[in-house]
Structures are given as C-alpha cells and as structure tokens.
C-alpha cells in the first residue's frame, strides 16, 4: 500500500500545482461571504436565488442580457424553483419578436416560459452605444468566465471606492479595487434599499450582492445541485467497488508468490 501513498501524493501535488497557478495572479484578496453551494453537499439557498433573480431583473437586466436562459428554467428543480404559474406571469411581462405570421408580417407577443430571456438591447452594437463604449457582458456564464468566480463577482459589486488621490478618472469611469486596472465603466449598481424584497429581508448592498451572485452561479451552472448529488453517489460507489475489487485481487494473487 506504500505505492498508493506515493500515487496519491503525486496526484495531490499535481492538483495543488494547478490551483497555485490559477491563484498566483490574483492581487487583491477577494471577499467570500460563505457560499452554501460549495463543497460535497453544496446546495443553493432557494430564497437567495429568488431574491437574486429579483435583483437581476430589476437592476442588472437594464443593461446585461442573459440570452442562454429561458424563463422555464426559473421553475426547474435545482434553480429558484418559482411555481409554473409564477414563471408564466414573469414571462408575460416581456415582449418578444415573433413571426412571420401567415400574412408574412413580424409581430410582437408576450413571452412564454419556453422563450429565452429577452435581451435589453437588440444587438451588441446597440448595447455598446448605450453604455459609453463598453459592452455589458452577457450574464449567462459570467461567473465561469471570470477568474475567482462567485467571490470575484461578489467582491466587484462591493468594491467601489473613491479613487486614490492623484488618480483622475474620465467621465463615466469608476474606481473599483477588484477590477483589473481598477477602472470600470459600470457605475456602482447597488445601494441600500434599492430593491424591496418580498420576504422582508433587508436589502443591504451585501445582501443584494450575495443574492444576485448566487443567482448568477445558478445561471452559469443550472445543474450544480444534480452534479453534487450524483458526484457524491458516484464517488461512494467507486470507493465501495474498489474495496471489493481490492479483496478479490488479494484473493486471486494469493495463488502466486508475489507481492502486489
């Protein structure tokens, strides 16, 4: 069994090395409010996801699209789990272009749960033009597209500060200590009481940042809960099977005078 110690040491060294490489470039230490969705049994906080959707749709969605999600996703298991009727009501607030109809005309209709999230701008150029030359990135996989993931998004939302003396910023540029280069074209999106939570949670910037980040993690990884659940079972199964195979192996090799 000495061999296995060695084997595992090498594997873990390899894993460590990988995580060191990814950690090496981070300068400012990211904030971490403690995420419930991490770890072996990590699950989303349903309330947080629903509040997060509210923050997204009332604040972020003014500029940021989320084009790979559909309204129906909001009622699926492992997500915010709104009821089907709630999702119908949510979807119907948006207008989508459809067509052509039998007369060959394009028309607009209220969105249905099967429709993708309606984007705030008709195209990328329009988004850039409306936002001072900066493209508000699509939020579907934003958490996975940023080094530091959830911690980074959470920190960025709370990282707005007055610029240090001597640094002058152009109009429409803001100082954020977590942004690469510290200059960001998005103004501080969160302020105390910006949204009114239906469940009575007080809408502090920290609370809103945590909720909306949780929502974005789910948006980027809608099957995270299923993944954790299946993963745990798979690993337990593999461990039990390898113990059984280990003893079969011992038995079979006992016929041969040789160590294994």
């Amino acid at each position: 069994m000495k061999s296995f110690l060695k084997f595992f040491l090498i594997i873990s060294f390899f894993c460590l090395k990988v995580s060191f490489i990814s950690a090496a470039e981070q300068t400012e230490k990211l904030l971490n409010p403690g995420w419930g969705f991490k770890g072996f049994f990590g699950k989303f906080d349903r309330g947080s996801l629903q509040r997060g959707y509210q923050v997204y749709t009332e604040v972020c969605a003014a500029c940021h699209s989320m084009k790979y999600l559909s309204y129906r996703n909001l009622s699926e298991t492992g997500g915010p789990e709104f009821t089907k009727d709630q999702v119908k009501a949510i979807a119907s607030q948006f207008e989508v272009n459809d067509g052509p109809n039998d007369d060959g005309e394009m028309f607009t209709r209220p969105a249905r749960p099967a429709d993708n999230f309606v984007s705030p701008y008709p195209n990328e150029k329009a988004a850039i033009a409306a936002n001072g030359g900066a493209y508000p990135p699509d939020m579907s996989v934003l958490v996975k597209a940023r080094k530091g993931g959830a911690d980074y998004i959470y920190s960025l939302l709370l990282g707005y500060e007055d610029p240090p003396s001597g640094l002058s910023l152009d109009d429409g540029v803001y100082y954020n200590k977590y942004m690469a280069g510290n200059k960001i074209k998005m103004s501080n999106p969160l302020s105390d009481g910006l949204v009114e939570y239906g469940d009575g949670t007080s809408a502090t910037p920290e609370q809103m940042a945590k909720d909306v980040t949780t929502f974005l993690v789910w948006a980027a990884e809608p099957h995270l809960e299923a993944r954790h659940k299946i993963g745990f079972r798979a690993i337990i199964y593999l461990i039990i099977l390898s113990i059984l195979v280990y003893f079969s192996m011992k038995k079979i090799w006992s016929r041969v005078e040789s160590k294994i």
Partner: protein, 421 residues
C-alpha cells in the same frame, strides 16, 4: 506469445476459428504471459485504453448536439450544458477526460523512462507511443478550439501562426491551414472534422502499440528479459485484469472528483467568453498538458528557432532508444541515471510552470535554463552515462535473483524491495 496451438472446444467454435481465428486471438490475450513483478505504474496502459474509449464515446454524443459554426458553436455548447439530458455530465467528462488522459499518458511515459522500457527490443512500441502522444496533443488542441471561446480562438491563432515561421512558404501555409486570412469559420469546421478523425487514428495506433508489445512481452521493474511462460510470469487474465481494474477504479475516483466537484479548475475562465477577434486576452495560455512545450517555444528569442526547438523537444523523444546507450534497462540498477531521471522530472515540471507564467524577467531566465537542461539531458547526459556509469549487478530472474549469495545479492534485494511499488 504462447506457443501451443489453441483449439476451441465446441464444434461451432472450431468451424468459426478455422475461418477467422478470433478465438485464438482472445485466447492469446487472456493467456498472455505477463511478468508477475509489475508494479502499479504498469497499470496505466489499461487506464489509457479506458481514457481513449471514454473520450470517443462521450465525443460521439457531444457531436450529436454540437454545431460547428463560428456563430453557433458557443451557444450549442451552452445548449449541451443546459438542455441536453445529462449533457453537462457528458461534456465535463469529455473536457476533464482530456486532462486525465494526459495525466495518465505522462505517468505512462515517465514510467517507461524510469524502467528503460523503450530500449531494445521495444523501440517500435516506444515510437508508436510517441506518435500516439503527438496525435493526442494535436487532437486535444483542436478539441479545445471547438467551444469557440476566447482561449479557443486565440490559442488557435497563436499555435497556427507558428507555421508562419517557416521561411518563404510560412505565410501561405498558415492561410492554407486557416482556410482564409484569419482564424474563422473554415478553421473551426476543419478542426471539428479532424478532431473527429484523429481519435480513430489513435485507436488504430493503439492496436499496433499493443500488438508490438505482445511480441517481446512487457518489460518489468527489474528490466531483465523474462522467460515466458515460466515461474516469472502470470497469465493476463485474471491476474493483470483484476489489478488493472483496481488501479482504474482508484484513478476514476480522482477523475470523478474533478468532473463533479471542480469541473472547470483545469480550464481557463476566458474560454467561457465567446470568441471575439477584436479583443485579445491578457494572457494566452494553452491547456496545462502543453505548457512544457509552450515554455520551450517561448524561451528561444527567435521565432523560427523557437518552433524548431519545440518540435525538436518532441523528436528527441522519438529517437530516445538510440540516445540512451546503456544496456541496463531499469533505473534500479543505474544509480546515476536514477538521479538524472528525477532531475528531468523536476525540469519538466518547472518548464510546465514557466509555460503558465508571463515570458519575462526571472520566469524567462528560468525557462531558458530549464530548456537547455532538457536538451542536455537527452543529447549529452544519456549518451555519456551509458558509457561511463557503473551499474549495479542485475539478478538473473524475477523469482530468484540468483547471484551466488554475495554481498551484491542482498544489495540487489534491498533495492528491489525499495523499488517495489
């Protein structure tokens, strides 16, 4: 190979086997005499076969849902992740499977280096293995382009641009590779086509690799020739099968950990941003398994020489059986080689680390020293070592290291125990 003629027991079996001797082949594979002292480093051949099949099966399913088009590829990957039943699982197994494949292949290669498995009479096995390894890198690189994220696009741009270093025809070759004047839709579709083809080439080469292995049989930790079948060997089934299965299960636990709990840790965050030809990422970094070669490429100041150095680093491995002049296979009996071996391992790890760092200042300096040492190891140290090194006495057989009870015997035995893993 076992010498006795195999005759199937049933009449139908015999009738069939006379026309297509597939039962003889199956019999050969199960009876195949294997040295009984193989340690766990020898289980990676089986693990690699598993990896290849996993990649092919998951890849087939992904190809059913993936759309190879510059405007649609990124979205189709998201479609797989969100809407296809268990698509997330299949894609994460495929993406992490590539990394696990390379992890296993590096262990397999370094095992061969330690125990001298590439030496006569196994040169062809080694060369086939190296061709497989090079094809694997090409396949993995093209696969990484398919999601059409930022790293896909810019990685493809950087790597294909290497060919522009070729004098006179370089630029034309790059245009030909791209199918246009930049990495674009034609590049994506041909990469998809080749990414689908190459695994089957690899599969064919793996068959040859195993065929070539079954002619002389396995090397073993002591590195001596084994009489087959004899007291020194066991049949492949059930002894090696069950051992390979056990090792595979342990490997799968590590694999599952990556797939289920950190599926994106081995990738780069930028690849979740859709490819944009107008925005260059701050650092263009290839996947981890290509980093040592990337470091060699960048450590040479001249572009053409850098490309030559990178390909030379691979080619040097192909001709390794003739660079290592020592007649003794296993490092167990080569005290000096053993030390240089570990220097090489460290050197490659350092190169890998430097490949991930920006090519400047102290990183660049270290990468240059490590590159020089890499070539020094193969071109100078190995040939000289073969001639000068004082090797230990090698036992005559696996079962009984018959050396006549001298002091060397116990030393050999001690060494054996120490290295039995």
């Amino acid at each position: 190979m076992s010498d006795h003629e195999y005759i199937p027991k049933s009449k139908l079996g015999k009738w069939f086997n006379d026309r297509l001797p597939i039962l003889t082949l199956a019999n050969h594979l199960t009876e195949y005499p294997t040295p009984k002292n193989l340690n766990y480093w020898w289980t990676f051949g089986g693990i690699l076969t598993f990896c290849l099949i996993t990649q092919i099966v998951t890849g087939l399913i992904l190809a059913m849902h993936y759309v190879a088009h510059a405007d649609l590829a990124f979205g189709s990957v998201e479609h797989i992740m969100r809407n296809v039943n268990y698509g997330w699982l299949i894609r994460y197994v495929h993406a992490n499977g590539a990394s696990m494949f390379f992890l296993a292949v590096y262990i397999h290669i370094f095992r061969s280096l330690y125990y001298g498995s590439y030496k006569s009479p196994r040169e062809i096995i080694w060369i086939l293995g190296m061709i497989i390894y090079i094809l694997m890198m090409a396949t993995a690189f093209m696969g990484y382009v398919l999601p059409w994220g930022q790293m896909s696009f810019w990685g493809a741009t950087v790597i294909t641009n290497l060919f522009s270093a070729i004098p006179l025809v370089g630029e034309s070759i790059v245009t030909w590779l791209w199918g246009g004047y930049s990495v674009d839709n034609p590049t994506l579709t041909r990469f998809f086509s080749l990414h689908y083809l190459f695994p089957f080439l690899i599969l064919g080469l793996v068959v040859l690799h195993i065929w070539a292995l079954h002619v002389p049989g396995n090397n073993n930790p002591i590195g001596i020739d084994v009489k087959k079948p004899s007291n020194d060997t066991v049949s492949f089934h059930p002894y090696i099968v069950i051992k390979d299965l056990f090792a595979l299960l342990i490997f799968l636990i590590v694999f599952a950990f990556f797939v289920f709990y950190s599926p994106n840790i081995l990738g780069h965050a930028d690849n979740y941003i859709e490819a944009n030809p107008l925005v260059t990422p701050a650092h263009i970094v290839p996947e981890w398994y290509l980093l040592p070669f990337y470091a060699i490429l960048r450590s040479v100041p001249d572009k053409l020489l850098g490309v030559i150095a990178m390909f030379a680093a691979l080619f040097i491995l192909v001709i390794l059986p003739w660079l290592d002049t020592s007649k003794i296979r296993s490092a167990i009996f080569r005290p000096l080689y053993k030390q240089f071996y570990w220097f090489l391992v460290a050197d490659v790890l350092i190169l890998g680390y430097m490949g991930a760092m920006p090519a400047e200042g102290v990183y660049l300096l270290v990468a240059r020293v490590a590159t020089a040492y890499y070539f020094l190891h193969f071109l100078v140290i190995l040939p000289i070592l073969g001639a000068k090194e004082k090797t230990l006495e090698v036992p005559l057989s696996i079962t009984e290291p018959v050396l006549g009870g001298s002091a060397t015997t116990s030393m050999t035995r001690n060494n054996l125990d120490k290295n039995k893993i």
